[in-house]
């Protein structure tokens, strides 16, 4: 056969070899078929530990807060708001607290908006949902223009806690 027929064939074989060689270097050693076989378990193993360890935890939880603010936590623990995590209103603690030495700690951003309270306290008569059991208001009728925290103390939400 003539040379011009073979030339593209050699080119293709060359390409295959090049791609295979690149692949050896490019594909990580821990990439392959794992526990659940090809259909579900084909991945780079190192990524599992990457997800475990290199993502930062932001929300620390109430116990962490009570380490320094035990008084606040004790007060709120006697109220119906005891079920709410501090960070639900005060924002995640990690970036502001854990990462900074005490002299240069930025303040947490506190959500004092009406909307934050209405998440639970907008009256919704929804049978088959816990929402029906929460004391709520009609936001259009109940002091529409001011923030709830102007009158209500979120740490002492009972009426005796009225400011």
């Amino acid at each position: 056969m003539k040379n011009h027929v073979f030339r593209p064939l050699f080119a293709v074989i060359g390409l295959v070899v090049i791609v295979l060689v690149i692949r050896v270097f490019y594909v990580p050693k821990d990439f392959g078929v794992h526990e659940r076989g090809y259909m579900y378990g084909w991945y780079r193993e190192g990524n599992v530990s990457e997800w475990k360890t290199s993502v930062k935890v932001k929300y620390q939880g109430k116990e962490y807060c009570s380490g320094c603010h035990a008084d606040k936590v004790q007060t709120i623990d006697k109220t119906p708001h005891a079920i709410i995590q501090c960070e639900n209103c005060h924002g995640p603690a990690n970036d502001a607290i854990a990462d900074h030495p005490s002299e240069q700690r930025p303040k947490l951003t506190i959500d004092r908006t009406r909307a934050q309270c209405l998440r639970c306290h907008l009256k919704l008569v929804y049978p088959t949902s816990g929402r029906a059991n929460i004391r709520g208001i009609d936001p259009e009728k109940h002091n529409p223009d001011i923030e709830c925290v102007m009158c209500h103390n979120p740490h002492k939400p009972g009426l005796e806690g009225l400011k």
């Binding site: 593209p8 794992h34 526990e35 990524n47 932001k58 929300y59 995590q85 639900n88 209405l118």
Partner: protein, 259 residues
């Protein structure tokens, strides 16, 4: 086709074909044995729809914890509201995934339209939190052509951000619509049960943030796990069981209206 094009196409085809080469990797018997050794952890999630009040504090915590831009209209977990009226109509909404909770009684119909429902007309109304089901047979993993979406030995379906090529097959493959592209990383994104938290003995951000205990996470391979006990001994439901994906997110109080 000219020669240049022919060679170009061939190069592409060869590169494509060699990607799944790992599939024909020959496993030694010892390795097969090692792979069979089952993990002693299988994470599962339990949602109690009776307890959920639609405050959306879970969604807010999730967005912050997992760095999903707050303003972007995408979330790893969201809460849906279902309102059934006495005349048999069904209304459902989830404004912004409920990241700000349900602070209006009006149903958000989209396109700036809202529906008022009188409380006398309501027959049933409740909230349903949703998230990735970490399916036992995840179609999203099956369709991923490069092995970027995969199932970890403890059952959680993870996305390898360095390996995802952004083709979007998994987004199409998931029958639950829980996947989206991360606005910053431009890789496929979804709930991964706060993998960085549960492996440190913490609860997921949404479970921790929920004031009403509507969300719980546990290990169904541990017979003493309180969540496992409920899942294995009480009547719980899963979403879209007809697809056979075997979701590992279980619901108390599911209703036929919930899809």
């Amino acid at each position: 086709m000219n020669r240049r094009e022919f060679l170009k196409n061939t190069a592409k085809a060869v590169a494509g074909v060699t990607v799944p080469l790992a599939a024909i990797e020959i496993l030694s018997p010892a390795r097969v044995q090692a792979l069979k050794a089952d993990s002693s952890v299988r994470w599962a999630f339990l949602v109690d729809t009776y307890k959920c009040v639609g405050c959306g504090l879970c969604v807010k915590a999730c967005k912050n914890e997992n760095e999903i831009p707050y303003e972007a209209n995408v979330t790893r977990t969201w809460v849906e509201r279902y309102v059934l009226t006495k005349d048999g109509k069904l209304y459902a909404d989830s404004p912004k995934g409920a990241r700000d909770g349900f602070t209006s009684a009006k149903i958000d119909l989209g396109m700036g339209k809202f529906q008022d429902i009188r409380k006398e007309d309501i027959k049933k109304a409740f909230f349903v939190p949703k998230l990735c089901n970490q399916c036992e047979n995840p179609p999203c993993v099956q369709v991923c052509p490069v092995g970027a979406t995969y199932q970890a030995p403890d059952g959680v379906v993870l996305v390898d951000r360095t390996w995802c090529i952004g083709c979007g097959y998994c987004i199409m493959g998931c029958p639950y619509g829980v996947r989206f592209f991360h606005p910053k990383y431009h890789t496929a994104e979804k709930c991964n049960f706060c993998y960085h938290r549960i492996n440190k003995g913490l609860k997921t951000a949404c479970v921790q943030a929920c004031p009403f205990g509507a969300r719980q996470i546990g290990n169904i391979k541990d017979p003493n796990d309180p969540v496992a006990k409920i899942i294995t001994t009480e009547r719980v439901g899963i979403l879209k069981s007809e697809f056979g994906t075997k979701p590992q997110v279980f619901y108390i109080g599911l209703d036929e209206e919930v899809r």
